[in-house]
């Protein structure tokens, strides 16, 4: 068994608008001199610390938790799960 850090990023699915990201882009970033930025998306990140056999199982376990407990609403959001060695 090993300890892993698992990062769960929850964001709106592609095609679904993200008003917060748009406001930060248009009303803050683009009003400065940072014209090279073309998009900002907001997301929420949860950091799990988990003890599992390997990275694959750790990822699957966290995915299962996210699905079971409705940690994100699949109707609007998607999750990206990244696993790192602790």
């Amino acid at each position: 068994m090993a300890i892993f850090n698992v990062h769960v990023t929850i964001e709106n699915k592609p095609g679904i608008s993200d008003p917060e990201g748009e406001t930060i882009l248009n009303d803050l970033v683009l009003k400065g001199t940072h014209s090279s930025i073309s998009k900002i998306k907001t997301a929420k990140m949860l950091k799990f610390t988990i003890k599992e056999k390997d990275k694959k199982i750790a990822k699957a376990k966290v995915q299962e938790i996210c699905d079971d407990l409705r940690i994100y609403n699949p109707m609007v959001s998607k999750v990206t799960i990244d696993v790192f060695d602790a």
Partner: protein, 226 residues
């Protein structure tokens, strides 16, 4: 005497504040859109409550970059009375004109309820007609209203008499029950509760006189100048 009421995109207590200034206290007030400048003849500035930029990123974080904030900063330096209420307070904090930060309430929910304040500093332009430790019945309405400062800053605030109002009870987890603070010079005041919602007996079920004194203090302050 002229009071400027600054309007940001998403301000929503601007009209309430204007009503109280003009109809209740017969002051001369004018709205200023955040992209415009402030004229020189302004005697006091109020940043009203609301959800500037929809509270995105952090409450007040985007409005703090509005062009008008440069003028507010200049006026603050000149000692002109400036009051930020609720989102206005958050903006002043984000702009660095007041110390601290405003975090999510410990309930994690938006809270709208009546509570009462205790006056801790009655030397500011907005409290000089109130008695020290006087109670003010007043409503709060915010989601990110928990005032936070680290211990070192708290010590400094206490030493400089920068704590203007405390809640009389634990409301949202604010450091030291702080509800309002001022800058070191005392002319810039920020508070989370809404005095403009408490000055008229028709809408104040408890007692409208104490919060009226906040506006009467302002009249006393800027009236003397003229």
């Amino acid at each position: 005497m002229k009071v400027g009421v600054i309007v940001f995109p998403g301000s929503n207590c601007d009209r309430d504040m204007y009503h109280v200034l003009t109809d209740v206290f017969k002051l001369d007030a004018e709205y200023f859109w955040h992209e415009k400048g402030l004229p020189k003849n302004i005697d006091a500035v109020i940043l009203p409550g609301g959800f500037s930029y929809g509270d995105r990123l952090r409450s007040g974080a985007i409005a703090a970059h509005s062009p008008i904030i440069n003028d507010v900063r200049k006026m603050a330096e000149k000692g002109i009375p400036i009051l930020g209420v609720c989102n206005g307070f958050q903006i002043l904090v984000e702009a660095g004109l007041l110390p601290g930060a405003l975090l999510k309430n410990t309930s994690l929910n938006f809270m709208c309820r009546w509570t009462s304040l205790i006056v801790e500093n009655n030397k500011t332009p907005f409290t000089n007609k109130l008695k020290l430790h006087q109670k003010i019945p007043i409503p709060i309405a915010n989601g990110e209203g928990r005032y936070y400062v680290d211990e070192l800053t708290l010590k400094k605030l206490k030493k400089n008499n920068q704590i203007v109002f405390r809640y009389s009870e634990v409301v949202n987890g604010s450091t030291d029950r702080i509800a309002g603070v001022c800058n070191e010079d005392g002319n810039v005041v920020g508070m989370m509760p809404h005095p403009e919602r408490a000055t008229e007996s028709a809408i104040n079920p408890i007692d409208n006189k104490p919060s009226s004194l906040i506006f009467e203090s302002l009249i006393k302050t800027i009236g003397v100048k003229n």
